[in-house]
């Protein structure tokens, strides 16, 4: 096959030919076994490429983008409705004073969202960050900060990848440091095997309990 025929089969595979071009390739395929196996190679190559990179597209949008765009969107929104926002915030302040349970509910929701953000930070850090390097997250409001630092990577006998990590949570009430071991069950998914407060158990104890559970 010559270069032109290779290019034609590529264009056929990519849906770039008109009716006449498609007919020409079909007759080439009918008479030339090399052309048929070349097309098969292209189809398989594309399938491999998509199955390599499509999972990235399926992942939930990481929080760095959500917070970047949410911030911008809120600002755009406030431009149009500043008087309404002022009224709403005064009303909100009044409600907050009068209805303590509303505050509790709102705080619960915020807490829940923060937990989700921190869990997502953990999964993404374990997926993408080398051992020893920390990745941190700061809550858009309040004083909550979280930091996840993978410490070591190992493989279990049944070929699972596991990582020991340290998690540092900081808010107005203080700092909490925990160590855990998580094992990868899929791309970007690292459920905990163990997690202990750092104060009560060192790395050795975590490793020991991890070994028992494996």
């Amino acid at each position: 096959m010559n270069d032109e025929q290779h290019a034609l089969i590529n264009a056929f595979n990519d849906g770039q030919l008109d009716e006449k071009g498609r007919e020409a390739v079909k007759s080439l395929l009918a008479e030339n076994a090399q052309a048929r196996s070349y097309l098969t190679e292209l189809i398989e190559l594309d399938r491999l490429l998509r199955s390599t990179f499509d999972p990235v597209k399926q992942e939930p949008v990481p929080m760095r983008f959500r917070s970047l765009l949410r911030k911008k969107r809120n600002r755009a929104f406030s431009h149009y409705v500043v008087p309404a926002a002022l009224a709403a915030s005064l009303l909100l302040a009044a409600i907050l004073v009068l209805r303590q349970d509303t505050v509790d509910q709102q705080m619960q929701e915020q807490l829940l969202q923060m937990r989700q953000e921190i869990a997502s930070l953990k999964h993404q850090t374990l997926e993408n960050t080398p051992s020893g390097k920390a990745v941190s997250w700061v809550a858009p409001v309040g004083q909550t900060r979280a930091e996840v630092r993978p410490l070591a990577t190992f493989r279990t006998k049944d070929n699972r990848f596991c990582r020991e990590y340290e998690e540092r949570l900081e808010d107005a009430s203080g700092v909490e440091i925990r160590r855990g071991v998580a094992c990868r069950t899929g791309k970007g998914h690292w459920p905990d095997l163990t997690r202990l407060p750092s104060g009560s158990a060192g790395s050795a104890a975590v490793e020991k309990s991890a070994v028992v559970n494996l």
């Binding site: 290779h6 290019a7 590529n10 264009a11 990519d14 770039q16 098969t40 190679e41 398989e44 190559l45 594309d46 399938r47 491999l48 490429l49 998509r50 199955s51 390599t52 990179f53 499509d54 990235v56 597209k57 399926q58 992942e59 949008v61 990481p62 760095r64 983008f65 765009l69 911008k72 969107r73 809120n74 600002r75 755009a76 406030s78 431009h79 500043v82 926002a85 002022l86 915030s89 909100l92 302040a93 907050l96 505050v103 709102q106 705080m107 915020q110 923060m114 997926e127 993408n128 960050t129 080398p130 809550a139 409001v141 309040g142 909550t144 990577t153 070929n159 990848f161 808010d171 107005a172």
Partner: protein, 197 residues
Amino acid sequence: MSMDENGVDNRFLNDRRTHCAEDMVQPDLTEQLIELIPRMRRFATGLSGSTAWGDDLVQAACERLLQRKDALQPDSRLDSWLYQVIRNLHIDGIRAQSVRDRNADEIKLVADLRPVSTDPMQAHIRLGEVNDAMQLLSEEHRSALMLICVEGLSYKEAAEVLQVPMGTVTSRLVRARKSLIEKLGGESFELELGVSR
């Protein structure tokens, strides 16, 4: 993280202080951007070889757009613009590579996560190989493959993003596919073909 009425007031004041300078982003542009991010992350991951580095590229492109909305011509498509900016940022990064070893951490991580003995039946290892092979190609070949084979752009659309004539795109793509098949290695690629038949 206690939240009281003062907290609410403060946040509102902060908002009011900043909105005058930065509220110029159209809400519908932001919506479009949010929808495009998964695709852009896929593209940038393929170009750079890692989601971490890819996300940096996507974020830089988003920031550029949000800071200067006039960067986007009224008649140009947002996705094409983003592909182009991400690619240019990546090329800038490659140029800077000789000065600072940008990927030292990533390479270390790949080595870190690679199993001691490889089991060919494990799909994720196989997929890692495709990514590794992609990173051995030239940037021109890699971006042609990502735009056409993964992102599904037409040759004409890819030519606009890459800012080269359509004929150049076609010949790059043919060479890129040939090169990637070679990099994946005849034998293991045959194995992969065999599995799927």
